[in-house]
Symmetry: C2
Subunit: 338 residues, 2 copies
DNA sequence: TTGAAAGCGCTAACAA
DNA sequence: TTGTTAGCGCTTTCAA
């Protein structure tokens, strides 16, 4: 037999279509014995529900969309993994969509998600994303922002608050004797890019430090370029603004054979696998990626249930490694070479 | 108005339901003027097809499933990205599923993919996956193996042939004067794990080298553990079997402060972002990940079209870096410290 | 608790 | 080329 339908199951169990549906979906009451019979018949036939038909009728798909800039970015691939697993715990599958930081591709995916009638969307937006995202609103698809948000938007968001960690970072650089600190920025097209620029500016003011701004775009290449330029102009204290610029900056530093923590103090963002290969170890801003992802799913589920939810802001911390460490801790420092 | 349906579009364009459907889906002939009118009406109404209804009726979903061990593995996240983009070029969306190397989770996802009636599946299998995957066969869902395969299975696969690269690697170690080479294996539950063990064994025989086998499981932790153990027993030539064990082994080497390329020769697998931070640069086996992913999508599309396809095996190469380089090239070597 | 019947939005025959 | 109609497989009223 071709794929058995619920009709076949009902027939085999000797009940009506409706009863079989109630037993299988768990909605509506069924006498235990009847339910058993239906379940057994389904098993005998190796029946599998057609989610297309179910969703068409019931008006929900048990699926959400996750719209991120790029899975290959280790920060987002971790995010994607936790979102997927958290959603699974709610019986919901995730449609992963890579916008590639391109508004057109984001718009295209928004269309796909609308057509597929997903129950909700978790998105990490960027400039010009607002218009692309408007379609979700038109269809009243619950949406949650993750990592980044659109200022002024009523959409609830789960983001991390990096202000105190960045203040600590600048304070540390100041304490290490630096009057000039290089900062590799993120793009002004993202909320995180803008925020971190402002936070660093404020902290620098506060600690009497001058910032050497270097434009970056959250890609490794720009991190590499910016770090090279900063090193060329004699800066000996560098801060990166995300995981990828951190990797890029480190590769430039490593290339030039500069001793981290001695000739140069460096503070990165997010502890990715790559940064584990650095000696001395990396001082970096740690964001709560896992919590962020799990919280976003939770918010979306509650939004879908009709609850009113508010945005969540998770604190981040400065993790001390050898690449920039307060003098007092210097004894514990170990260096592999140089 | 709530979501407009194709009825609304037809009414506005002054045509019948069927005509509107033909104009919108592109199947069947429609007079150009009529088509224009329908498209205009659809645009006016901001109509979006309900893919659930379309798929239910037409019996295809324009979606495929991608079943991989873990997106966080940089090797697979790259694979996932290319698969997604290649599929998009065919107008097909990708459902990304992380099996987490667990048969139950793979079985669960196979169920999900069956219920969602995907048009095809690309999967990177492991031991005990065969039974979980049987469900795809029951539903006659076209399947292609990627990176790994199940020996003896009729399912077409796209894999890389690492034999000559690994032979070169062993030859290089031999030429560098090593009689003993440590090899961090992959799990015997994967075809790649088994193959690489055999290929290394053959090459070692061939070049008169003895292999110090260290069990690994394609995770960073095991790479770290294995490398530590090998270094402890005095081995000074190490080979890893995949991207993750490479990262793990490197972190162990870096931790111990051992000078790569001098006190120790190391050859890794796959050039991930992390390995770009290593000095001297890494000697590694490069697989054609992008081609692999694109080819798998192509195979699946052709399979779906009823073509008979055959498995593809892509050659891989040994990329020379400073971590293990033939003596002749030694002049070009640059070291950052030590 | 169960059955009968309607219909979700669309495509694909079939006729005209 | 177009309109009409049946029906994909399921859930969900409504009665019984």
């Amino acid at each position: 037999m071709a794929r058995p339908t619920i009709r076949d199951v009902a027939a085999r169990a000797g009940v009506s279509l409706g009863t079989a549906s109630r037993a299988l979906s768990g909605n509506g009451s069924v006498r235990p014995a009847t339910r058993e019979a239906v379940l057994q018949a389904a098993k005998d036939l190796d029946y599998r529900v057609n989610s297309l038909a179910r969703s068409l009728r019931s008006n929900h798909t048990a699926s959400i969309g996750l719209l991120i800039p790029d899975v290959r970015n280790p920060y987002f691939s971790q995010l994607a993994h936790v979102v997927e697993q958290s959603a699974l715990e709610h019986g919901v599958t995730t449609l992963l969509c890579n916008a590639d930081e391109r508004p057109e591709q984001m718009a295209m995916y928004v269309d796909v998600l609308r057509e597929r009638r997903v129950d909700g969307v978790i998105v990490s937006p960027f400039a010009d994303a607002e218009q692309a995202l408007a379609g979700l609103d038109d269809d009243a698809i619950p949406t949650v922002f993750i990592d980044r948000r659109i200022p002024g938007s009523p959409t609830p968001s789960v983001t991390s608050d990096t202000s105190s960690a960045l203040d600590e970072a600048i304070a540390l650089m100041s304490r290490l004797g630096h009057r000039r600190v290089g900062f590799i920025t993120g793009p002004r097209t993202t909320s995180t890019g803008i925020e971190r620029i402002e936070q660093v500016a404020t902290a620098a003011d506060h600690h009497g430090v001058e910032v050497e701004w270097q434009e970056g775009d959250f890609h490794t290449e720009s991190g590499h370029r910016a770090a090279t330029s900063l090193l060329g102009s004699g800066v000996r204290a560098i801060l990166a603004s995300d995981a990828q610029t951190t990797e890029g900056a480190l590769s430039a530093i490593v290339e030039q054979g500069i001793a981290l923590g001695e000739g140069l103090h460096f503070i990165g963002f997010d502890g990715t696998p790559a940064t584990a290969l650095i000696r001395p170890s990396l001082t970096y801003v740690r964001q709560q990626v896992q919590e962020m992802a799990a919280t976003a799913v939770d918010l979306l589920v509650r939004l879908r249930a009709g609850e009113i939810v508010t945005s969540v802001r998770l604190p981040s911390t400065l993790v001390l490694g050898g690449s920039a460490r307060p003098a007092a801790d210097h004894l514990t420092e170990e260096r592999s070479c140089a």
